[in-house]
Amino acid sequence: MNPRADILPLVLDDVSFEINGMRLIKDLSCTFEAGPRTAIIGPNGAGKSLFLRLCHGLLTPSAGTIRWAGPDGANSVTAQAMVFQRPVMLRRSVAANVDFALKLRDHGKPDRTVIIDEVLGRCGLRRLKDNPARVLSFGEQQKLALARAWALKPQVLFLDEPTASLDPAATHAVEEIVQAIHHEGTRIIMTTHDLGQARRLADEVIFLHRGRMLEYAPTETFFTEPKNDLAQAFVKGELLWWKLGKDNRRAGGYEIDKAPRRRN
């Protein structure tokens, strides 16, 4: 057990993923170094969640390699955590949900009690610690999922649209927690539909479309001068699948920096 194991960088080399002959992630290569927060954005079906699951090891790529190249890369499982779009709550109390995760990391009882109290306090859930987790509101459940991940002190935290279907207040609370986790040195890699959230939370943005990475740029650059025309359209709020789907299919997909410019 090493809560601050050094597993980064994460290197994806020509990764593809297919189901029943359908390629859902296509020839994706990139490297995640320690430090910045990354937001993966793109329309529905772009492969954002698949991309996260591949990185986290929940899925195995059909082609290409994904490796944790840091000195502790061999023990990468215990140095990463993931929060899902729909929080998975064990049928136990709030505190027991965090306790379960800590037991899996072989923390002793006194240690666990301290960590549980700390993370629940920081996520605003201390007064609910004895409540059954499954009767919490959706926003509280998501905060608990974050608290559970935070308790593990991961070096890398994957977040799959953590604020989808949350109201602005709950979204704000979740974003604050994500920021706090980041400030403690955890590398954040998240997907989001919310462009505002990507601006607020991310230092760099990956734009995915139909399983391809079309742009990987610092957040400011991405939003002010996206190089890829589909990324431009996405940032402007155009409906990509509707406006550009037909042309895109004919072109057979785009490469980063190589995508043809859209004719005006």
Partner: protein, 234 residues
């Protein structure tokens, strides 16, 4: 009509008077059925959970067999256990035939597939929900399995109850392997069958009433426990 009312009156008198023979029969019935359900639970829960969580060679065969055996005819099970335990059979040397142990063995065979199959269904639903989170947290197979059994405990309670229902109600298997010997292997269901054939409806009805009350109490208690648990754990 008079026969029935007389029988009811006699039955109530017997129950109210704590008839010794009656108490002995009820006691043995509970001992056999509860022991069988306990053993079947110890085998069935992990077996059902394992078939839900893990992919291993022969898994599908086990699932089909367990499902098929949910409806095993008790007399057939009784006959097979009889053959196995009879003097000429492979386990004849143990001298178990016509003992409560033989009855427990037969009921374990009847009940285990029910508990294992229902457990598998409960566990599969739960696993669908938990799988990614468990893998994400790095939970190994054993930790995942125990967590699922614990979190599904209230649903599994229903599976165990279904097993108890089967064990306490069946007559065919315990009749064949137990032999319905007075003061030795006579249980409620075999006694009812015997007394009806002998025409002693009072004792049969008394036993029948107790069986009904018992099963209602067990199911009522189970419902209350489950209800309270669901309110606590949602």
């Amino acid at each position: 009509m008079n026969d029935i009312s007389d029988a009811f009156a006699a039955a109530f008198a017997m129950v109210a008077g704590f008839d010794k023979d009656l108490a002995e029969i009820v006691g043995l019935s509970l001992e056999v059925s509860l022991s069988a359900v306990f053993i079947a639970t110890v085998i069935g829960l992990p077996l059902g959970a394992a078939t839900a969580l893990f992919r291993f060679p022969g898994r599908k065969v086990i699932i089909v067999v367990l499902n098929a055996f949910m409806g095993l005819p008790p007399v057939v099970v009784g006959l097979i256990v009889y053959l196995l335990l009879s003097r000429a059979g492979p386990f004849g040397v143990l001298g178990l035939l016509f003992t409560p142990t033989a009855m427990i063995i037969a009921q374990v065979i009847l009940v285990t597939p029910i508990i294992a199959s229902l457990t598998r269904q409960v566990m599969e639903d739960l696993w669908r929900e938990y799988e990614e989170q468990m893998r994400s947290l790095g939970a190994g197979p054993v930790r995942s399995l125990t967590a699922l059994l614990w979190d599904g405990r209230f649903s599994l309670f229903t599976a165990i109850l279904a097993g108890f229902g089967r064990a306490s109600a069946e007559v065919g298997a315990v009749m064949i392997v137990g032999g319905n010997i007075d003061h030795a292997t006579r249980v409620m269901t075999t006694a009812i069958a015997l007394e009806v054939s002998r025409g002693d409806l009072a004792l049969a009805l008394g036993l029948g009433l107790i069986l009904l009350v018992l099963s209602t109490c067990v199911n009522g208690a189970a419902f209350l426990i489950r209800d309270a648990a669901q309110k606590r754990h949602a």
